[in-house]
Symmetry: C2
Subunit: 256 residues, 2 copies
């Protein structure tokens, strides 16, 4: 669990959570347990996705994947354990009114289950067996929902009300799409050493990506479009969104 | 998920939860979402334990295991999905004061993570690589904690206070031990068709069980002792424990 969790990575989800706290006037430290839990959950999903029965990847964040290092049995359990400990972290440490903590957990759990990460990964697995899935919907579930929950859970902790929540959620959805498009582009154009994983792995796995479906040029246009929409949503919130703006720009221009 | 969840089984954990509700004066229906969640979690653990990288079992509840039927990738995700949906079931449907629902979830999550089911399974996996672990501690984590949480979560939902909680928890711990000892005995003496899985599988997997460690006769004595202690704890609670007593007797005398 520590090996995979502490191997680095961009920490996009916790960073989004902390920046959202700042935007809505919460002390970022106050949401730290939930922010950290999101990274535990993300790491759990990476460990399971990398397994031989799934993507069979051997390198992640520049080091051997969990199952290569510790065996498949331990890797499955490390993922299982990270999810349970993520929930426990929130239940043990997250301050706030109980209804708000429950609502935040709800956001997170919705983003993990069959209508989120696990459902998206299932579509991904089933897709390689032939069916053509809507790529945007697949990624919305697999990646977008947890990125959305990084914003959404904090809105719940801060008891932010409509209409502000609506624009923040629109921002979160766009940023999730943006993240995935850029991920797909970097898989084709990125530097292996910087990425910490082999370039071109999506193609080798026969995955449908924004690049394989739309081509590189159109994928870049779609990324720029998502970036514009995400920034526009932020501008509408009326919050202290300087940090969220920076993160949005980073997600577009990142090289890893 | 449905295939494994609805394949039958004894439903010991939800039954314990409902009977505990009755004992402490809660309407059993009121704790149904949490009771059902416990069965989802138990099923998730069975699916992952049966995987080729773990126990590599092909038969469970009288039918092919999840990975045999649907493939290893889908089986891993079915387990992952069941855990997330179990949490969601509680968050969506469990009525009660938010602090009590949070406390019930906490009981459940503690029983799943590294100091519970996942930790116990890790010990089990690591053990087969050579180290000698305390068998009672291993099973306390792997099986006992979730059985304990079936009682404990309901105590939280009912906001039951000390000293009653202490005797109920002592009961739950003993019933967990009793369940495991009888499980180990049935693996040696049981009827394959009734069990729905091959007899003698513990021995083939080189597992340390109550029978392999203490022998069959002593294991039976230990079971009788746990049964006595569990019943004694129930008698001390002062609750309406008729149903819990029946379940305790059933766990000792069951043939499957």
């Amino acid at each position: 669990m520590r090996y995979s969790l502490l191997a680095g990575g961009k920490r996009i989800r916790p960073v989004l959570a902390l920046a959202t706290a700042e935007a809505v006037g919460l002390e970022p430290d106050r949401v730290m347990p939930t922010a950290a839990a999101l990274e535990l959950i993300h790491t759990y999903s990476l460990i399971h996705d990398d397994l031989p029965a799934m993507d069979d990847d051997e390198l992640r964040r520049g080091q051997p994947t969990c199952h290569v290092r510790f065996g498949e049995d331990v890797a499955i359990l490390a993922g299982d354990g990270l999810f349970a400990e993520a929930m426990r972290l929130v239940l043990d440490r997250q301050e706030g009114d109980p209804p708000h903590v429950l609502a935040a957990l709800h956001e997170v759990v919705d983003a993990v289950g069959v209508s989120g990460m696990v459902g998206g990964q299932y579509m991904d697995v089933a897709q390689s067996e032939g069916s053509r899935s809507d790529i945007r919907h697949l990624h919305e579930l697999k990646t977008g929902r947890l990125i959305g929950a990084s914003v959404g859970a904090v809105l719940r902790l801060g008891d932010v009300l409509e209409p502000a929540t609506i624009t923040y959620r629109r921002f979160a959805a766009e940023v999730g799409v943006l993240f995935q498009i850029v991920d797909d582009i970097l898989d084709v154009t990125g530097d292996e050493e910087a990425l910490g994983k082999p370039q071109g792995s999506d193609e080798r796995h026969g995955k449908r990506t924004y690049v394989s479906v739309f081509g590189l040029d159109r994928a870049r246009e779609l990324a720029a479009e998502s970036h514009r929409k995400a920034r526009a949503a932020l501008a509408e919130t009326g919050g202290r969104t300087a940090r969220l703006e920076q993160i949005t720009d980073y997600i577009l221009t990142r090289q890893t």
